[in-house]
């Protein structure tokens, strides 16, 4: 429901920061890499030494253009940088070089597919470039928070990494929608190969602006929820803040414009009420950077070079593999999974089967063990072998699942395991026919009941054969043979 029973509607805007995976930082040639010894990927520029000047990374421009195009934005023909001034230890120059009123990309949208299948078009106001701040560690206090820390330590390795900030219109109305937006945006960015988009690592960061109002009235005062580092955090944080605002308004209180903090432990939102004043960023055009004027040719070149985006891939899966919209959607959303599916489909020649298995058992296995596709113990080739046995009728569906589990556990291939365990569906018609006729002959009573119309008696015969074959009889074949034999049989045969 977008409007609560009391008549309130939440209005949410999301600001997402994407760390680009260029080789070097935005304004200097220091490598972008993580987990290195502190203060070793630094130079006079990203340390903010006097006399240094920024030098714009052309790859960052290209990546930002890709993002803008994928979000259906207009790429500005003339864009410039601005200085955003504030004091922070992680900001060595005392200002960030960002973009203000002439950003690289404007007026786009993301069509978000919601759970009920409907599409929510969320406007993207802008996407712009800026450099990242350095990392601070707060020491001497409790759990690394600023409050209570004795001192802070700064590592400038991360400082200067290129960021693209994507700002949505306030056209999201529920935490679920927000989560869907973020999920699909992440998937889009992944497809563009511009970032690792890993929320835990910080290459994808999300801030939200939230307010509530009664539809038809002006927007309420908004608060900001910052640095949510997981999808769950985002959703729960939004839920908590919306509830807090509604409760406050119902009590006749006013909402104060401020940053709120969501505590994942307690699930509660608290207002900081600190003396932290609103920043006056004193934006002015960056005199050390010349303007960027991307030609139509350049933009077209970037557009032509875009990798296949999830929406297009989904269409292709529906068209070429005959997958349902739902299946196509699930498979196309995650690039590594999509790639795995396509290879599996090619190797087995069975798109539907491959789709079911990738979405089902294979994904189940990855999720249960918290693995990425690339870390799977079961390769495409191995799974293709298994599916081959299934398609040939050597294994029943249930048996194939068991074999898969064994493959995961032992790392062995399907044929080996089937041989080892004497699995291998009995699909030999002759063999089964013999068993069937022997069984029928031994059970004239139930056979007659079946012929009299009691269909359920078939189950008895199936069960007997299954017991005899230890579950390895091919169920469809068995069924077929039994029916034929029972129908066609008579005390005379």
């Amino acid at each position: 429901m977008m409007v609560t029973p009391e008549g309130w509607e939440a209005v949410i805007g999301l600001e997402i920061h994407v760390q680009l995976n260029t080789a070097t930082k935005m304004f200097c040639g220091c490598p972008v890499s993580f987990g290195d010894v502190p203060n070793t990927n630094v130079c006079p520029l990203c340390l903010g030494h006097p006399g240094t000047l920024p030098a714009m990374n052309e790859k960052a421009i290209e990546y930002a253009t890709r993002i803008g195009l994928a979000l259906n934005c207009t790429i500005s023909p003339h864009s410039i940088f601005h200085r955003k001034n504030y004091f922070y230890p992680g900001l060595p120059k005392g200002y960030q070089i960002s973009q203000y009123d002439l950003p690289l990309a404007v007026d786009g949208h993301l069509d978000v597919e919601l759970e009920d299948g409907s599409i929510l078009r969320v406007g993207v106001t802008r996407a712009h470039l800026e450099d990242d701040a350095a990392k601070l560690v707060h020491a001497g206090g409790v759990d690394g928070r600023i409050a209570g820390a004795d001192y802070s330590m700064v590592d400038f390795n991360r400082g200067g990494t290129p960021l693209v900030e994507i700002v949505s219109e306030p056209e999201i109305h529920t935490p679920e929608q927000a989560r869907a937006y973020l999920t699909q945006l992440k998937s889009l960015l992944e497809a563009l190969e511009v970032s690792d988009v890993n929320m835990e690592e910080g290459s994808l960061r999300c801030d939200a602006n939230i307010s509530v109002h009664r539809p038809g009235t002006p927007f309420g005062t908004r608060t900001e929820l910052k640095n949510m580092n997981s999808f769950r955090f985002l959703q729960r944080g939004l839920e908590a803040e919306i509830e807090r605002q509604i409760s406050a308004l119902e009590r006749g209180e006013e909402i104060v414009q401020e940053t709120v903090h969501f505590d994942t432990g307690s699930g509660k939102v608290s207002t900081l009420r600190s003396k932290e004043e609103a920043h006056d960023y004193r934006y002015f055009p960056e005199p050390d950077m010349v303007p960027i004027e991307l030609s139509a040719e350049y933009v077209e070149k970037v557009r032509a070079g875009l990798p296949e985006l999830p929406a297009a891939r989904k269409e292709r899966y529906m068209r070429d593999y005959g997958l349902s919209p739902y299946d196509a959607g699930v498979l196309s959303a995650n690039r590594p999974l999509a790639a795995f599916f396509e290879r599996l489909s090619t190797q087995t020649g069975e798109a539907k089967l491959a789709a079911n298995w990738v979405m089902g058992d294979f994904s189940g296995y990855l999720n249960a063990q918290g693995l990425e596709v690339k870390d799977s113990a079961v390769s495409v080739e191995a799974l293709a072998e298994l599916l081959g046995l299934l398609a040939a009728g050597t294994l029943s569906g249930k048996m194939a699942k068991d074999v898969f589990a064994a493959m995961v556990e032992t790392g062995k291939g399907a044929p080996e395991l089937v041989a080892e365990r004497g699995l291998g569906q009995i699909s030999d018609t002759g063999e089964l026919e013999t068993m069937v006729s022997e069984l029928i002959a031994a059970n004239p009573g139930p056979a007659e009941e079946y012929r009299q119309g009691r269909d359920r008696v078939l189950g008895f015969f199936v069960g007997q054969i299954m017991k005899q074959t230890r579950g390895q009889a091919n169920p469809q074949l068995l069924n077929e043979l039994l029916r034929k034999a029972l129908a066609g049989s008579s005390p005379d045969n």
Binding site: C28, P38, L47, E58, P89, S152
Partner: protein, 93 residues
């Protein structure tokens, strides 16, 4: 005359602090400079574009190729306080 509270606000933004005896003189000096620069308000410049750059140049880019960095020792060489390879600053709270 720029007010005292305005002087204090601007000083806070700039992370500067003035002694009591300095503030009165500062108010005076800043006011006289502000009065002088205020003369630009007399000009009607609607339609005149702003010049941000004296050179008329666009699209200067650098290739995305790594260059040699400083060593940690070099990076920290001028630092007033360090710990375990990090720059140290007093608590923010």
């Amino acid at each position: 005359m720029i007010s005292r509270s305005e002087v204090e606000h601007v000083a806070r933004l700039a992370r500067l602090r003035f002694e009591e005896q300095e503030i009165a003189l500062l108010q005076q000096e800043l006011s006289s400079i502000i009065d002088y620069i205020n003369q630009l308000q007399e000009l009607d410049l609607t339609g005149v574009p702003a010049t941000a750059h004296a050179v008329n140049v666009v699209n200067i880019f650098r290739l995305d190729e790594p260059r040699a960095c400083l060593t940690q020792e070099e990076a920290l060489a001028n630092a007033p306080a360090t710990e375990r390879g990090h720059f140290l600053v007093p608590r923010m709270g």
